[in-house]
């Protein structure tokens, strides 16, 4: 719970006040924290691409949105990222559980893991890769950066960083 709490605290410190998730077991603690947080909006959504649309609307309405998802969700969302969030220059934080990184027990997750950073790089999305607890200290500044550059940004949280956070 310590890691998840630190991530949410830093996102909030960065100004993020609107959260969606397509659940992942590595995100479960963060979801629980957000469900009990009266200061911010939180909802699950069925699909990441749809979540990108809701985040765009939330930005238009003066919220600073974050969508939490597995890295697989980036694959579901490429057109919405490019032709909505980037086209209209909308700041949104992607908080990504980086499935398929070392420690991952499910071999099938390896495929998207191999190309996740390549996709984000191709999309020119700034990335913060968190592999240890001290990396989490960069999250609030990195989130604020999204607003400054009016762009979606991606925070990748490694499997081994999240797996023992019970």
């Amino acid at each position: 719970m310590k890691i998840s709490k630190k991530i949410i605290d830093n996102l909030k410190k960065g100004g993020v006040d609107f959260y969606l998730s397509v659940p992942c077991k590595l995100l479960a603690n963060m979801i629980e924290i957000l469900e009990n947080d009266k200061d911010v909006y939180y909802s699950a959504v069925p699909r990441e691409e749809e979540g990108m649309g809701i985040c765009a609307g939330a930005y238009l309405g003066n919220k600073f949105p974050c969508i939490m998802m597995q890295n697989t969700g980036i694959g579901n969302s490429v057109n919405a990222i490019v032709s909505l969030l980037q086209l209209y220059q909308m700041p949104v934080v992607f908080l990504i559980s980086y499935r398929g990184t070392p420690g991952e027990p499910v071999g099938a997750q390896g495929g998207m893991a191999k190309i996740t950073e390549d996709i984000l790089q191709t999309l020119r999305i700034p990335m913060l890769h968190c592999s240890s607890e001290k990396d989490l200290d960069k999250i609030s500044t990195f989130s604020k950066h999204a607003k400054v550059v009016e762009s979606p940004v991606a925070i990748l949280c490694d499997f081994n960083l999240m797996k023992d956070d019970t």
Binding site: P46, E49, G53, A56, G57, A58, L60, N62, L84, Q89
Partner: protein
Amino acid sequence: MNRFDLLNKIQNILKDNLIICNIGLPSQELYKISDQPNFFYMLGSMGLSSSIGLGLSLSQSKQVISIDGDGSVLMNMNTLATIGNRAPSNYTLLIIDNGSYGSTGDQRTFTDENTSLKDVAIGAGCKKVIECSGEETLNELSKAIEDKNNSYVIISKINSGNVKIDPIPLNPITIRDRFRKFIGIVKYL
């Protein structure tokens, strides 16, 4: 009645609310009828009009109308479940259902065959679901806006057909900033 006729008929009610308008011909036709700063024209991301409007209605208190199409809702059908569980009362989804993919040459959609978006919306948990003719749409939309306690999904059944029209000349940042200025967020314009 086709989409252009319908948009013409409901234009006055649109001027008073925040409008998210679907990509392609719906936005181009609306722009031609009457361009307003409170109209957010989608230039990409087919399928997400309902979702953008939902996020907007959750984030501020003004009335929001998402203008969507049958083809687009079929592309993002999970949106009806999210709306059925999360839409606040300042949200209305207007699905202009002409049974065709208008912007791409009027190919038939599944709503012209076996699919009822009304039944899907009800099954997805939407409480106020109205299916009506194009002629009845203005009245149904007015009632939905006046009801401060419920969100609505209105499915307006019209004929297919488009008018010949140019792309919207506005750039996306102009659309974004004047829309946010209308809400009162952007001060620098």
